[in-house]
């Protein structure tokens, strides 16, 4: 499958289908200002069966392999990430990122970010992105972790500094 990275198209499909999800991972970091990234879209869906049905309806038509039973509310904790190859680039569906309790946990601090016209997905907070990478404890994530921590420091500074 020849893919052209277009996460916005996937997000539009998810929104059109009424899927409840939070954007995490590389694309969330980009939205928060990270200059470096891997081109993939990672989402954490709400794991109710009705929402998973909407997720399947949105992604099965474009995924190389249908989601099928790979995601279910019962398998939320047992299953890791599900990586789907789509014409719009890889889509990673993660029920419970490391160190979190999934959608309900991440949604609390998530914000709706205007990433395109009429497209405002819920995006996990920088603090939660840091928490996930820290809990994963992978050496390869160290540069990303460092970048997110610095972005958190710089944006905190920006918020606390009075604007002239």
């Amino acid at each position: 499958m020849t893919a052209v990275f277009d996460p916005l198209e996937v997000l539009r499909r998810l929104d059109a289908a009424g899927v409840a999800y939070v954007v995490v991972g590389e694309f969330a970091a980009v939205i928060h200002g990270s200059p470096d990234f891997r081109p993939e879209l990672e989402i954490v869906p709400q794991m109710r069966e009705s929402n998973l049905q909407r997720l399947r309806a949105a992604l099965d038509p474009i995924a190389a392999q249908p989601i099928g039973d790979a995601l279910s509310p019962a398998a939320a904790q047992a299953s890791g990430s599900l990586r789907l190859e789509t014409p719009h680039g890889p889509v990673v569906v993660t029920p419970e990122p490391a160190g979190t309790r999934g959608y309900d946990d991440l949604r609390r601090k998530a914000t709706r970010e205007p990433v395109a016209r009429r497209l405002r997905p819920q995006v996990a907070a920088v603090a939660d992105l840091i928490r996930v990478l820290h809990e994963r404890g992978r050496e390869e994530d160290e540069p990303r972790l460092h970048a997110l921590r610095r972005i958190a420091e710089l944006t905190r500074d920006e918020i606390s500094r009075p604007r002239s």
């Binding site: 200059p35 990234f37 680039g89 205007p114 395109a116 610095r150 710089l154």
Partner: protein, 99 residues
């Protein structure tokens, strides 16, 4: 600058020996020597008392720490979320990001 360097600088500017300074703050000369060698680090209040005994003072100022990649972060942080996404997608299209 270490605390030892601050103490030594203040003492020398005041024209005091280690013994003079020790007497001024009711400590031993060897204690002053340990501070100046940074063998022992005095607390902030003690450091201020030592420097004041030399007739000087210092102030502590907080300022923004800078890191090598800050200019790159500033570039993307100045953008809106939509502009950040557009920038990222343009980099991918240009082949500047490994897929």
């Amino acid at each position: 600058m270490t605390s030892g360097e601050i103490i030594r600088e203040a003492r020398l500017r005041a024209g005091m020996s280690q013994g003079d300074l020790a007497a001024a703050i009711s400590r031993t000369r060897s204690q002053v020597a340990r501070w100046e060698r940074d063998d022992v680090t005095p607390g902030l209040d003690t450091l201020q008392a030592i420097v004041r005994a030399c007739g000087y003072d210092f102030e502590i100022r907080l300022f923004r720490r800078e890191e090598p990649d800050d200019a790159r972060y500033a570039e993307t942080l100045d953008l809106t979320p939509q502009e950040r996404v557009e920038r990222a997608l343009a980099l991918v299209r240009a082949g500047a990001v490994a897929t």
